[in-house]
């Protein structure tokens, strides 16, 4: 299994895609921090400029790349079919469940790397903005650390979910478009209209791990942090198991 995980990591290191996705991730983190801090105190904004949670909310943007890591997971799987590399991959390792496991682990590792870079970047950008802009009150408390750890956890778990989605759908465009539509439309609607259902979605679980998000600010209640984390793990494991049973064993012609 070590060899297979190393091979999967080598696959990711020998193409450009992960680098671009990391750049995109950092851009999203930057936007997230700036949007949170610079809108604080404006009319209709959720936070005041001296809000005790302001810094924690700002560094929570470190999880802003979760959708990017999700796409990385999807592409890691679907590109094997798109470019036909699934054939040599399956020939080297005829037991396809082992390949799926190796990919889940490899993408979790890459997600962790993205997460750590994102967390450091979010901290750096937040510190700079708090220093340079007048009237902001930075509170360095345990909430900041908890949010950062939550963001790292979310980033590490979204990649494996992407692998599972890719294995289930196999078609690259369908998988990416479906994942984006789910995240930006279906989940948002569920969270807003049916919070009792919404908290059980991956997006709801993510809010739970970070203890922020739409659910927290509206009427719904979040799961506890550990509940959200377990739910994300469950999504990755259950979807992978379904893919291993249903789609991954299909004929490759």
């Amino acid at each position: 299994m070590t060899n297979l995980v190393r091979a999967e990591l080598l696959k990711l290191r020998t193409v450009r895609l992960p680098l671009w996705l990391l750049v995109t991730t950092l851009a999203l983190v930057l936007l997230g921090v700036l949007a949170t801090v610079l809108t604080a105190g404006l009319e209709g904004a959720p936070l005041r400029r001296d809000d005790p949670e302001l810094l924690a909310r700002a560094v929570a943007s470190a999880s802003g790349g979760n959708i990017i890591v999700l796409i990385l997971g999807i592409l890691t799987l679907t590109q094997e079919y798109r470019f036909g590399t699934a054939t040599p991959t399956f020939l080297i390792t005829p037991k396809r469940g082992r390949i799926l496991t190796a990919k889940l682990l490899a993408v979790a590792i890459v997600g962790l790397v993205f997460a750590v870079v994102s967390a450091l970047f979010a901290l750096a950008v937040s510190s700079a903005v708090f220093l340079l802009r007048d009237g902001l009150v930075a509170r360095w408390d345990s909430a900041v650390l908890e949010v950062l750890l939550g963001a790292v956890l979310v980033m590490a778990l979204y990649g494996p979910i992407g692998i599972a989605v890719g294995a289930l759908v196999r078609n690259q465009i369908a998988a990416v478009v479906g994942a984006l539509a789910w995240t930006f439309i279906v989940e948002q609607l569920l969270v807003a209209l049916l919070p009792d259902v919404g908290r059980w979605t991956p997006g709801g679980a993510t809010s739970a791990v970070l203890q922020i998000g739409d659910l927290a600010t509206t009427r719904g209640e979040l799961l506890p942090v550990w509940g959200g984390a377990l739910l994300l793990v469950a999504y990755a494991v259950v979807l992978s198991a379904v893919a291993a049973r249903l789609t991954l064993r299909r004929d490759l012609s």
Partner: protein, 313 residues
């Protein structure tokens, strides 16, 4: 080292279409076995079943009795080159091989060694997206040799190669079989097979029509003599009187099912003028025509790139 491949009642249906029907055959070590048939005959489906990529509807395919997915280290036991095998266009040739060798747990020196074997050392650092079809075939062959396997399964390896490349491939395969390896090569090009193979499996519409040595198959169609004479009708009667059958094939042409000396003697005895007297050499094309009763596979050996995209299930 020596491994024997066996197909045992191998059958695959896609919906109601039978792609491969009850295929039983053996492929022996130290020889090049050609898997011959037109595009769409079921060759690729058969090879993919052999390699565990497609699950047979019934029957089995094995390497010394073991299914592909039962092999302890598949890459060290079977080298494969399949038509739909892909490469990530943004990855270099060497990186492609490094990924494979890492997954298979082979020595770190293997990628460069096999690149040298197929003459791609210079191009190893280039992205596969820039490769010609022929270079991709060589890279695919390099990947097949990565684990130094005793068995090679190659699907249309001559596709996309230029004439020098095909000549190189032929001697390369001969060299590999000479080392005692089992080499199974699929092809839809008759003339290519005639110059490469020891044994032939003829597949048509998913059924195995014939298996045997190339020499046996060629002998089957041999024995006829073609004759040109301005006096066709009289000569035909004289042949019949001598107990020989002459079949008219043109205005002044006959094909006689007898060796040339016998035909020549009949002509000499009756003073018939002959413009041509040729003993026919057996050809796979004739065998194929006789077996299938219909169109032959492509008879020319010119490599055509489009073949890689046609006739797949």
């Amino acid at each position: 080292m020596a491994t024997t491949l066996r197909f045992d009642g191998l059958t695959k249906s896609f919906g109601t279409t039978l792609a491969v029907t009850d295929l039983t055959a053996a492929v022996h070590p130290g020889r090049i076995t050609a898997f011959l048939g037109p595009n769409g005959a079921g060759k690729t489906t058969t090879l993919r079943m052999l390699l565990g990529l497609i699950r047979p509807t019934s029957g089995s395919a094995s390497f010394d009795g073991r299914r592909y997915d039962e092999l302890a280290a598949p890459v060290r036991e079977v080298g494969t080159l399949l038509e739909a095998t892909g490469f990530h266009p943004g990855r270099t040739a060497r990186d492609h091989l490094r990924v494979l060798r890492t997954a298979a747990g082979l020595a770190a020196s293997r990628p460069d060694e096999v690149l040298a074997l197929v003459g791609l050392t210079e191009a190893g650092g280039r992205k596969v997206g820039e490769f010609s079809l022929g270079m991709r075939q060589r890279l695919g062959l390099a990947a097949a040799l990565l684990g130094d396997p005793p068995v090679l399964v190659l699907d249309e390896p001559a596709n996309g190669l230029d004439p020098q490349g095909i000549r190189w491939l032929r001697s390369f395969l001969r060299h590999l079989a000479g080392q005692g390896r089992t080499v199974l090569v699929s092809s839809h090009v008759l003339s290519e097979v005639e110059q490469t193979a020891d044994d032939v499996l003829v597949l048509h519409r998913g059924r195995l029509l014939r298996s045997g040595t190339l020499a046996e198959l060629q002998a089957e169609s041999a024995g006829g003599t073609s004759v040109r004479t301005p006096d066709v009708e009289r000569f035909q009667q004289l042949l019949a009187a001598a107990g020989l059958t002459g079949r008219r094939t043109g205005l002044q042409e006959l094909v006689v099912s007898a060796p040339a000396p016998a035909v020549g003697e009949v002509a000499a005895a009756h003073g018939v003028v002959l413009h041509q007297l040729t003993e026919q050499v057996g050809g796979l094309e004739e065998v194929f025509l006789a077996l299938t009763g219909e169109s032959t596979p492509t008879a020319d050996s010119a490599p055509t790139g489009q073949n890689s995209t046609t006739g797949k299930p």
